[in-house]
């Protein structure tokens, strides 16, 4: 194997799990996620030049992944899970009231709360608007810092911060709604 291929494989090692986890959030089916990762690897490999002293980061791979996912969506070849909105659209929805109280969750013991979360968090995540869901994906699945997320999304760090706050608040609100419904359905008093 040629030295660049070896260096490329070495570079990928620490990012392998995050790459797949993130791909699974961009496309719905596991086989599509596998194809998405393959396409990202192919494009990354074509642009990989370890001799030019560039330092490669996970954010670089996720920029490529996002671009591929966008292309697939545009060409309607794949069913993509999210639909990023334009900047104009984001201006209105990115403003969150950071000091607002949190949505109240009913009192549950820790075990019940965890079981409930495991059941409902995917649905709550899916229900988020695309730009908010994406910052969460890049942070939690992609393991990126705010600065790196800003790089992937090509937006200011402040925008990432406001979207992140909004995303987590919205997630919390949805979970609170589910939790109250869950308790009502089971006729269990909080």
């Amino acid at each position: 194997m040629s030295p660049p291929a070896e260096a490329f494989a070495e570079f990928l090692g620490p990012h392998w799990m995050r790459l797949h986890a993130t791909a699974r959030q961009y496309v719905t089916r596991p086989e599509d996620a596998h194809d998405l990762v393959q396409e990202v690897l192919l494009r990354a490999w074509r642009n990989f030049a370890p001799t030019d002293e560039r330092v490669y980061h996970r954010a670089w791979l996720l920029v490529i992944m996002r671009n591929v996912a966008m292309e697939w969506r545009r060409t309607a070849q794949r069913r993509i899970h999210f639909a990023p909105a334009g900047d104009a659209e984001l201006t209105d929805i990115a403003s969150a009231d950071p000091g607002a109280p949190f949505s109240a969750l009913p009192a549950m013991d820790e075990r019940r709360f965890r079981e409930f979360l495991d059941d409902r968090i995917a649905a709550a995540l899916d229900g988020l608007e695309a730009p908010f869901r994406e910052v969460l994906i890049l942070s939690v699945a992609g393991g990126l810092r705010y600065r790196e997320i800003a790089e992937v999304l090509d937006c200011p760090v402040g925008t990432v911060m406001s979207r992140m706050a909004r995303a987590r608040r919205e997630l919390r609100r949805r979970l609170a709604e589910y939790a109250w419904d869950h308790l009502r359905d089971k006729r269990v008093r909080p």
């Binding site: 070896e6 490999w45 074509r46 030049a49 030019d52 980061h57 968090i121 810092r145």
Partner: protein, 269 residues
């Protein structure tokens, strides 16, 4: 910090993106406010559950390097950047540097004859402060951006050939930004940029052999000798570890830099 501020900073805090000073205030508030502490615990539980969703992925194993590129077509080779704009730019830079070095050499040769101070008269503190200011004034990007001290140390070792180890960046509110290779008085040096409470602080390491630190005051801390100096409004704290001299530079007071230098868990030496 008030409850409202805690709500404002909650997610930034949980994502480890909050400024060190505010993080301390945040934690202090949690120690005395049960309601906010409970909210933070709920958010932590939600975060753990969210993270578990992403971890639970049916992931194929990372292929062995030998099979790694098999699915790719044979013509898929890394792009050659033989004459890219970057390279052209770099060549111009090298040429300019050579010319500058020639001019600098001529000036250095002439200066002692005119009674002015030559570059060899600069102290170690002068040099590291100049390097620190140079980094900030030109906003030179770090070549390797990471807050992981082990990763930064590894990168610097590979780049400079110096057995550098970075102190844990999380200690004393210090946040590691990244690193670059640099040069101090003709010596290869490792340069790491940190922020202590939001204020930039560099940590430079270079070979100790023949390095003169006379003129700097000696301070004993944790059984180790440190050298301290003030230069152009900056504090310099230096310490020898093994074959290397480490120097921390910042506008911060001496105690802050001594804490950075004298971390008890500082590995490698």
């Amino acid at each position: 910090m008030t409850c409202e501020e805690v709500r404002e900073y909650l997610y930034v805090f949980l994502d480890n993106e909050l400024d060190a000073a505010l993080s301390i205030e945040f934690q202090r508030h949690l120690e005395r406010c049960g309601r906010c502490a409970s909210e933070v615990e709920i958010e932590r539980t939600i975060r753990r559950s969210l993270a578990a969703q992403f971890d639970d992925v049916d992931m194929p194993p990372l292929p062995e390097p030998a099979q790694f590129l098999q699915p790719f077509r044979a013509d898929c080779v890394p792009r050659q950047r033989s004459l890219s704009f970057f390279r052209l730019h770099r060549r111009a830079l090298v040429l300019t540097t050579l010319v500058a070095m020639l001019v600098f050499g001529a000036v250095a040769w002439l200066l002692p004859r005119t009674g002015a101070a030559g570059p060899t008269d600069l102290s170690f503190a002068d040099l590291v402060v100049a390097d620190f200011r140079h980094f900030l004034s030109e906003d030179r990007p770090v070549q390797f951006a990471s807050a992981d001290s082990a990763a930064v140390g590894g990168w610097l070792r590979a780049k400079t050939g110096l057995s550098v180890s970075m102190p844990p960046a999380s200690s004393e509110g210090c946040r590691l930004i990244g690193a670059r290779k640099c040069n101090i008085a003709g010596r290869t040096a490792a340069f790491a940029m940190n922020r202590i409470g939001g204020v930039p602080a560099s940590l430079v390491a270079t070979n100790a052999a023949g390095l003169e630190m006379s003129g700097m005051a000696r301070v004993k801390l944790g059984g180790r000798t440190h050298w301290v100096d003030r230069c152009k409004g900056h504090t310099v704290v230096a310490c020898r570890r093994g074959d290397l001299v480490y120097a921390a530079v910042s506008t911060l007071p001496q105690e802050k830099l001594l804490c950075l230098m004298a971390d008890a868990t500082y590995e490698g030496h």
